[in-house]
Assembly symmetry: C2
Homo-oligomer: 582 residues x 2
Amino acid sequence: MADGRTPLLRELLGGDGRLIVVSNRGPITFDWDPDQPGRLMASRGSGGLVTALGELGRHAPVTWVAAAMTPADRTAAAALGGITRARLARARHGEADSRGGGEGAALTWSPTGGRTSTSVAERGTAVLEAAEPAVTPAVVGELVQGLMPNQDLDLVYVLVDEEAYDRHYWIVANPFLWFIQHEMYAPAYGPNVDDELMDAWRRGYRPVNEQLADAAVEAAGDDPNPVILLQDYHLYLAAQRIRDRRPDATILHFNHIPWPSAGQWQLIPQSMRRAICEGLLACDIVGLQTDRYADNFLDSVASFVRDARVDRDGRNVLWRGRRIRVRAYPISVDPDGLLAFSRSEAVEERVRRLSERVGRAGNPRLIVRADRIEPSKNALRGFLAFESLLARRPELRETTRFVAVQAPTRTEIPEYAQYAAAVREVVARINGMADPEDLPVWIYDGSDYAMAIAALRLADVVVVNPLIDGMNLVAKEAVLVGQNPVLVLSETAGAAEQLASDSLTVAPGDIVGTAAAIERGLDMPPAERRHHLRRLRASVREEDLDWWLTRQLRDLSAIRRGVLPPSRRLRDSLRRVETETV
Amino acid sequence: MADGRTPLLRELLGGDGRLIVVSNRGPITFDWDPDQPGRLMASRGSGGLVTALGELGRHAPVTWVAAAMTPADRTAAAALGGITRARLARARHGEADSRGGGEGAALTWSPTGGRTSTSVAERGTAVLEAAEPAVTPAVVGELVQGLMPNQDLDLVYVLVDEEAYDRHYWIVANPFLWFIQHEMYAPAYGPNVDDELMDAWRRGYRPVNEQLADAAVEAAGDDPNPVILLQDYHLYLAAQRIRDRRPDATILHFNHIPWPSAGQWQLIPQSMRRAICEGLLACDIVGLQTDRYADNFLDSVASFVRDARVDRDGRNVLWRGRRIRVRAYPISVDPDGLLAFSRSEAVEERVRRLSERVGRAGNPRLIVRADRIEPSKNALRGFLAFESLLARRPELRETTRFVAVQAPTRTEIPEYAQYAAAVREVVARINGMADPEDLPVWIYDGSDYAMAIAALRLADVVVVNPLIDGMNLVAKEAVLVGQNPVLVLSETAGAAEQLASDSLTVAPGDIVGTAAAIERGLDMPPAERRHHLRRLRASVREEDLDWWLTRQLRDLSAIRRGVLPPSRRLRDSLRRVETETV
């Protein structure tokens, strides 16, 4: 499918256009080396968004607009601006560059000064030694090229007002919107929409959205029909600003996190949720991870936007003379890239280490989870289920181990710290009675992605039991790299719409059911495992990351040509209901 | 409308039938007088259910089946059984009784022994002095007649197994189902569907449902077409048992509490939520408080019941050869009864007391709330809003007081006790800086219903801001008895579907918005107040308790005659959306 993307993009962008991607966090984060002041480091994001879009510049000219988040980002921003301006100047003057060249396109400046030594480490970190004054476009460009080689990529890091950005990011986007959309509040106590939050909304979220939108408009320059991909919940108000300034733009907003039911949005002020819905309706396409989220979004628009007409079956909204399409684009992984990584030396080394420990323990079967310790991932109930299973079937204490590759995250947010403590307490309780040399639960550092993949390779049962999850890529990684795992999957993970029929699905609050599913997974006969795994792999391979992106580009192209067909649900994961005349 | 009810019931029941009501708690609760052992007391429930159905026996013969909840209920149960059996025997032998007599129908036994002295106190408590051995049918009958006079009423209190009942009531119904349906769990930590809960479901909830269902079937006797009204979330599995034994029964289940979105139900085991949905589909009509809950129920059935066909627009479900109607019947108050009570001496006395205090405080305007202190009622954010309003407009400290008539409830459940403590803390903070003789927040005992009505009479602004609430009758009471109040109403209260357009609606998480609404309410000019109040009163008067019940009886009658028309939404509270071909 990758082969089809270059012509698709060329058709979409025309001869002279650049695809514009806007996200809060850029694909590369800059930092100052804590050990060597003035030494600039760069690392490539490992999240789904960067994985998904980080190779786009191989197929078409891409301008990626993001906020400068770190102090080092801010330093690099000016240099990046220099690169971008240089590139744009060249482009406008018709200088030869890599535009439209597909594979092999590369940033075209040449390093001109400064002592530089770039190295791309296995886990995607490039290090550049440079005194701060020496952070020139060339220096930064080399860092970028080291991390995202062979791309026709302009990075635009916007110098947003720092105070506004703090409000935008640390008050509105996280935890507020994240919590609302993951239904993580205990409603009796939160959210409390108070003066601070309303102030952060007005003087943080909105202006940062406008600044990034303005940068996108600027990046579009005199492109007659700019195509803009907006990413995620940090940018709900960006499309409207872009639409105001460039009514001719074609805009797709893709939301990586869940879209909850209208009832959840009713917790927060009418003005705010309406602004969010109307902000998204400035797009041509609103993309969500699953059919359910798409339905929830349509229901939210029907509930909160007075003058919108919602066609739920056709998944269209008519609003102020424009037609907005709502679509499900389930994100995925890059199967070949993942499999290559899973056979890399980094992973092999960890597989050896883990295998030795397994051998010393008498070759137990492995139950594996790999995730951040945060409330929505529901590790607590996963361990409670294991504890209850061990109580019911004590012989499993000998023949199984629970391998958890996980790390606390966002512990500056009290809810996260509290949750991590609760998880640690349950693990300590399970491990507490055991020989320290032979614990039932093995904890590994969740920031070690190679270890996560190593554990998934060896897993007999993989537990993915989030309370709610936009997609959950671990489930997809597990079936690709695992030798013969059974997938225990929460039906509230986005991935359940694609994978439920060959998984053991559980309700996230159901400890009894989760324990039973783990047990059934352990006991499943080899032939049945292979049958399900084969089907799971086929599904993930078919609906992979290319498919995710290509479908968006196709739909954008069809809209440009005025031929986007009526929508239908991607699949009927729950079941198809026929309405009959009653 | 009351006039129309007697013939409607006669048509529905035929010449010989009794209407069968089944609820967990009966209309009368018996207790032993703690001060005088052996002295039986009886009190009439004050909740919406008893208010709604407690006068039904004036219009038609009613058999009311409930669980014996208290030890004294269990003692009375046998006596009640005696009454019931005597009545049934009489009925079957064609003896003259009050059946079909409408107004004036009365229990027909005569007291035959024991020293009795019945008195009906103002707040609905009858006291009967009787040694335990003297609890005869006649003694209990007199207590019942004292509390529910002039009714053709058989009370059947079922002696459910006590351990099963504890599991049913204290583990499954409360807090579990109540929390799920009021979305009160912090999902990261609850619910935990563990062995105890699954055991309580199998060996508590289900058998108690079956016992009550069996009692209903027994009460139906040889009635050729029994009509059965099931009440609320304690009885989700009763209809199926009745349907199995009496396929010819006409069954309506009315649910008094919210029906959340399918996403909330996804927290709990598939088997449990499917059993709940399928249990309800054994009815002919599933009644819910609001259009939104009806839509949510249809969505739940579509999501969880594999072989059901859901027609969302027509609000019908086809399942296993039967058609089930889903309808919204918003419950209400009895306006005339309420107004009479609001002018009773009990209320007048409290109005005088409150007015004197208001006078001493310099005649401030009153912001009033009246509710139980429980998380779903959201008193915490109501007080936080008042606190923030006082901070912004300090002069309101002089010219307003917040009168809260409320009492802690269910404090044996930790979440309730914790919430009550949080509410007390905020109130203490607001009151803490004030002269003890002149506090900003006045707390009155919420168990004093007459005081609640007195405060509502004098209110300038009534705050009804629940997180979620099946209906909320305080909102309806407030507009009927209040002299000139402005209603600040959470849009997530069931009552919002009827009252939103003439209230100041707020999102329950929105402290800033709630403070602004209270402020706007205080500042609203008299003419505007009167305009809205007139419309609110007309709405509550039109859609009153009679209307609630009569619509159910009409629909049941139409089903019996095979002429129930296709459904439509009651109203379009949010907005009407026209679907057009896109």
